[in-house]
Symmetry: C2
Subunit: 430 residues, 2 copies
C-alpha cells in the first residue's frame, strides 16, 4: 500500500498566485459563529485559481462527444479509490486471526460505507447457510425459543446510528515510542453505521425472563469460540439483534445473518454470527470475559471512553502548503453524546472549540471541524473531546498513570501530530 | 430477476405451533406508547419456535470445526443478496439512457448503501480523469475561479443526511390502471445518504457575487447536455458541492468527482459530474429547465412534496400468514421535516399514527413503523405522511384533479396495497 499523499504531491504550487496572502492570526479562543464564518470566508480565499476562458466558454470536453458507461446492478468505487481500502494486519499462527482497518484518513462525514467497516476476526469469517440458520434463546427463561431469519424479520425493528470500536483500537500508542502510521491504520478499528434489528428486550419479553437471571451469555458460529457475558440491564436497555447495516443485510464479515449491537461497548461483545443467547445468573468467565479485552476502567465502568482523533491530517503525509486548512476529525463516547471537542494548534497551550456537525447522536461518531490558518511554522496539533457527563479525554501521561505502561486495551488519550515547516505530519508524544 | 418472496415461500408453517393465537383487535387510534409497547410484546409472541436441545446444548456446528474465510480490502454483500440489486430500466433509442432503482422493499433503516443508490442517466456515465478535472465558477462574479479536486478539498466541509428523489419517481402510478411492481421498482428512484462537501455559498463568497446575479446555471460532463438553472437563494441556502457519499468519494454513477446536492429538490438539479457553475441574471431555459422534469406545483413551489411508501409489504409477494406484522416504510418531504405518518388498514376508514424513528432530520428519509395484528381477512393498507408545514400527502383523486391525468412528474399521492386473505399483496387504486 502506498500513502495517498507524500512530500512530493503538493497540490498547490507555491510559485503560483494561489497561496493565501493573509497569514492571519490564530483563531481566538472565544471566536463566535459569525466571526468564524467570516474567518472561513477570508481564510479560504485564494485556494482556487482564476478560471481560464477554456473552462468557462466554448471548449467542448471529450466526454461530451461519446456516450458514457453502463448502468450496474451494484455499484463500486471509482478506480481512483483503489488505495482507499481496509488495511489488513494478520497474525501468522492462527488462520484468519487479525484485523482490517477503516481508512479514516481518507473518509469524510460519520457513516462508514459497508465495504470499509473494520473487521476483527479470531479465526476467519464463517460461511453460514442462512436457510438452515437459527439462533437459540434459552437458559433462565420461561420458554426457550429459536428464531430463524424469517421469523426474526417479523418482529418490530429499531434503527439507530452507532459506532463500534474494538477494545484494542489505538493500541500501538501504548508503545514507548510514537509509532508512525496513517490515522486509519492506528485508530481505524472504529466504524459507524445505521444498524437495524430487533431489540433483544422484545425477544426476551416473549421468552420470559426468570427472576434469577442477571447475565446473557452469547456465542457465535465462528471457529474461534468467542463467548461473551453481558449484564442483563445493558441487554434490556439498548442491545439489538442486528440484521441490517446501512440499509442492507449485514455483510459476511460483519456477522451475517445476525449479530449483537451493544451500543457504546467494545467491539468484542457486539458478537457476530449469533448462535446462542443464554440467560444465566452469573457471567461465564469465558476466555473473552477474562483474558482478552475486558480490563475494566478504574471507575468500574465498561463503556468505551470519550475519545477523538483528527483525520484531516495523517502521519506520513504532507499538508499542501501554509494557509487555510480545516482541522476535522471524529469524536465519540460510549457514555452518551459528545459535548465538545477542543483543538490546540500550539501543543496544548491554548485550545479552541471546534464545531460539532449536527445531529450529535447518542453513541455515534460525531464529526468536528475547525478552520485553521497555518502560518507555515512547525507546531503540534491536538484534539480533545469531552462527553455529556463531563468526562474528558485524558493526556497520555494521565492514562499511563491510571493503567500502567504495559496495558493493551482501551487507549483513549489525546493524540498529538507534529507539523513540520514543510507540512510533513508525524505522530508524537507531546 | 425473480421476486424474492412468492406465494410458495411461506416462512411460517401454519401446521406448526408457530401462529399467533391471539388475533387481537385493531390497534386503537389513540394508542399511547406504553400501550403500544405492550401490544408489540403481546402480538409478537408466538412467531418463534421452541428451541430444540440440539440448539441450546452440546451440538457442535460445522463452522466451529474449520477456520473461516479471509479478510478483504473492500467488502461485498453475501451471495444470499444476489437479488438485492438495482433494477435497470433502459431506453433503446439513446445509449445509456434510463434508470436503475433502489430496491426499497429489500432494505431497512434510512441510509441507502452506495452500491444501491438509484441512478438516472441520460447518456451513460462519463469517464473523468480526476487529475485533469476542474470546475469553473464564473458569470456574474467579481473574479471567475476554477477549482480542482485538491483545492476543493481544502475548503471547509459540511456533512448532512439528505434524500435525493427523481422528479419522475413513482410515475407508473399516473397510468389509468394500477401497475404491479415491487415497491423499489415503482418508487425506488429515491435514496438517502450522508453527503459531505463544500457549501456553494463559501465558493461564491470567494468569487464575489455581482449585484444583478439571480440564478446559477450548472452543467455537467456527461454527453447528454444536462444544464439546469437554480435560483440563487436556494444556492446560498443549503446547496453543496458534494464530494463524499456515506463517507467515501462519490461513486462514478453518482457524479464523481463532484456533484451538486440541492436538498429537497428533484434529482435532476442535483447535477452530477460538475463542469461549470455560472451566475446569471435569469434562468437559461435549457431543455432540462423547460421540457423535462420542471413542472411547477400549483402553489408555485418547487420542492419535492411530502410523500410516504410502505416497504414492509410489496406487490407480488405474500405475507407469511396472519398474525403480527410490523408495517414499516419511508416518509420524506422537500419542505423540512416529516411531522407524522398515519397508517390505515381498513382502506382509509380509520387511521393510526405510526412511530417515527428518531432522529427525524430535515430533508432526509424518515423510517416509520406500526405494529399490526392481521386477522387474515382481505383488506387494503395505506400510508399518508404530513410535513412540518401541515402539508399532507394527497389522495390520488386530488392529485389528478390538480395535475390532470396526463401528468408525468412529481407523483406523491397516497399508495394503497390490497392484501388478500392468503396474504398476496397487490397495488390498487382505492
Amino acid at each position: 500500500m502506498t500513502m495517498k499523499r507524500t512530500k512530493t504531491t503538493l497540490s498547490i504550487d507555491p510559485t503560483k498566485d494561489t497561496q493565501l496572502s493573509d497569514s492571519a492570526a490564530i483563531v481566538s479562543e472565544k471566536m463566535q459563529s459569525e466571526d468564524r464564518r467570516q474567518f472561513i470566508r477570508r481564510s479560504a480565499a485564494g485556494v482556487a485559481v482564476l478560471a481560464s476562458p477554456s473552462l468557462t466558454h466554448a471548449a467542448v470536453p471529450e466526454s461530451w462527444k461519446i456516450p458514457g458507461g453502463d448502468f450496474s446492478n451494484y455499484g463500486l468505487p471509482h478506480a481512483d479509490q483503489k488505495n482507499v481500502i481496509r488495511w489488513i494486519s494478520q497474525g501468522r499462527s492462527v488462520a484468519g486471526e487479525g484485523v482490517s482497518w477503516t481508512p479514516l484518513h481518507d473518509l469524510e462525514g460519520t457513516i462508514t460505507p459497508n465495504g470499509l467497516h473494520f473487521e476483527r476476526h479470531h479465526n476467519g469469517i464463517p460461511e453460514i447457510d442462512s436457510a438452515q440458520w437459527e439462533v437459540a434463546l434459552h437458559g433462565l427463561v420461561a420458554k426457550p425459543l429459536a428464531f430463524d431469519l424469517a421469523s426474526l424479520k417479523r418482529y418490530p425493528m429499531t434503527s439507530r446510528i452507532a459506532f463500534i470500536e474494538c477494545g484494542g483500537n489505538s493500541n500501538s500508542l501504548w508503545h514507548p515510542n510514537a509509532v508512525q502510521a496513517p490515522v486509519g491504520y492506528a485508530h481505524g478499528l472504529l466504524s459507524c453505521s445505521e444498524w437495524t434489528g430487533v431489540k433483544l428486550s422484545v425477544l426476551l419479553e416473549e421468552a420470559g425472563i426468570k427472576p434469577d437471571a442477571r447475565w446473557l451469555v452469547a456465542d457465535g458460529l465462528d471457529s474461534s469460540g468467542v463467548t461473551v457475558s453481558l449484564p442483563l440491564d445493558k441487554v434490556l436497555d439498548d442491545t439489538l439483534v442486528a440484521l441490517y447495516q446501512n440499509g442492507e443485510a449485514l455483510r459476511p464479515s460483519n456477522g451475517y445473518p445476525a449479530r449483537l449491537l451493544v451500543p457504546g461497548w467494545e467491539g468484542i461483545v457486539n458478537l457476530k454470527w449469533l448462535r446462542s443467547l443464554q440467560l444465566t445468573s452469573s457471567p461465564l468467565m469465558s476466555r473473552f470475559d477474562t483474558v482478552s479485552y475486558t480490563d475494566l476502567h478504574k471507575d468500574g465502568t465498561f463503556e468505551m471512553k470519550v475519545k477523538s482523533i483528527i483525520t484531516s491530517m495523517t502521519p506520513g503525509a504532507t499538508l499542501p502548503g501554509a494557509g487555510f486548512h480545516e482541522i476535522s476529525g471524529l469524536a465519540w463516547t460510549g457514555n452518551g453524546r459528545v459535548a465538545g471537542v477542543d483543538i490546540s494548534v500550539d501543543n496544548g497551550k491554548t485550545w479552541m472549540a471546534a464545531t460539532l456537525q449536527e445531529p450529535v447522536l447518542d453513541k455515534a461518531l460525531t464529526r468536528f471541524r475547525l478552520p485553521w490558518q497555518w502560518d507555515g511554522t512547525a507546531t503540534i496539533v491536538k484534539s480533545r473531546a469531552v462527553d455529556q457527563n463531563g468526562q474528558m479525554q485524558p493526556t497520555r501521561d494521565a492514562l499511563l498513570a491510571e493503567k500502567g505502561s504495559s496495558a493493551y486495551y482501551h487507549y483513549n488519550a489525546i493524540v498529538a501530530f507534529s507539523v513540520e515547516s514543510d507540512g510533513y505530519v508525524s505522530h508524537v508524544y507531546a
